[in-house]
Symmetry: C2
Subunit: 129 residues, 2 copies
């Protein structure tokens, strides 16, 4: 494996509309928006861009993020974050992802939350054997 | 909306390793492989290609398929199919998707299974407002 392409741009997509199971009439920004804002303020690798998205249709397992990056990496959807409190956990995961060529972070290096709350993964355009 | 780009190629990705909750020692091809093979034999639009993938990490909601297609369409992950019996249901859904420019099939046109078993959706590269 070469690390040559590990600097390809990475999108960290955050569902900003997620209520994380809270009532609809809470005041202030929703948990998804709070997580989004906390991640924008986080210390992330240069090749990672945080983007807000309205609804991943994963509302039963929110808050959710999607991590993707270029034609060679797998895309991952992770769920069950609580809000801004989990920004550090997400930042750690996306930092490890951004260091890979193919998006595959070794199992032993993944946090317990990432191990247990992978909602789905989608192969790169060129599907590996 | 223009239909100009509705012929862009569509990938129908099928998890071939899915056991759909069955024991590990069943004989013959797994439910995911059976669904994959049934879809390969289905009548699908010309711009749809069926591809087998090993594991979407969505094992709690298998069998699963992912539908994607080009830079302008949303990507969808659907789950809880039982196997080859659901090939027609999947074929109907991907046919409607392949007719769209952005991947967004109107709610009223979606089957009940697709409405209730969307695992996640991921925006196109150019994230819509």
């Amino acid at each position: 494996m070469t690390m040559a392409d590990a600097t390809a741009p990475v999108d960290l997509l955050v569902c900003t509309t997620c209520r994380a199971g809270q009532p609809t009439d809470i005041e202030g920004p929703r948990p998804g928006t709070q997580l989004f804002e906390a991640l924008q303020a986080s210390d992330l690798p240069e090749n990672v861009t945080v983007k807000g998205v309205a609804c991943f249709s994963n509302c039963d397992s929110g808050c959710s993020v999607t991590i993707r990056g270029g034609d060679e990496r797998w895309t991952y959807v992770y769920g069950n974050f609580t809000g801004a409190d989990d920004a550090e956990l997400v930042a750690e995961g996306v930092t490890k992802y951004a260091e890979t060529v193919d998006g595959l972070v070794p199992w032993r290096e993944r946090s317990t939350h990432f191990r247990k709350n992978c909602i789905a993964r989608i192969p790169p355009l060129e599907i590996p054997e």
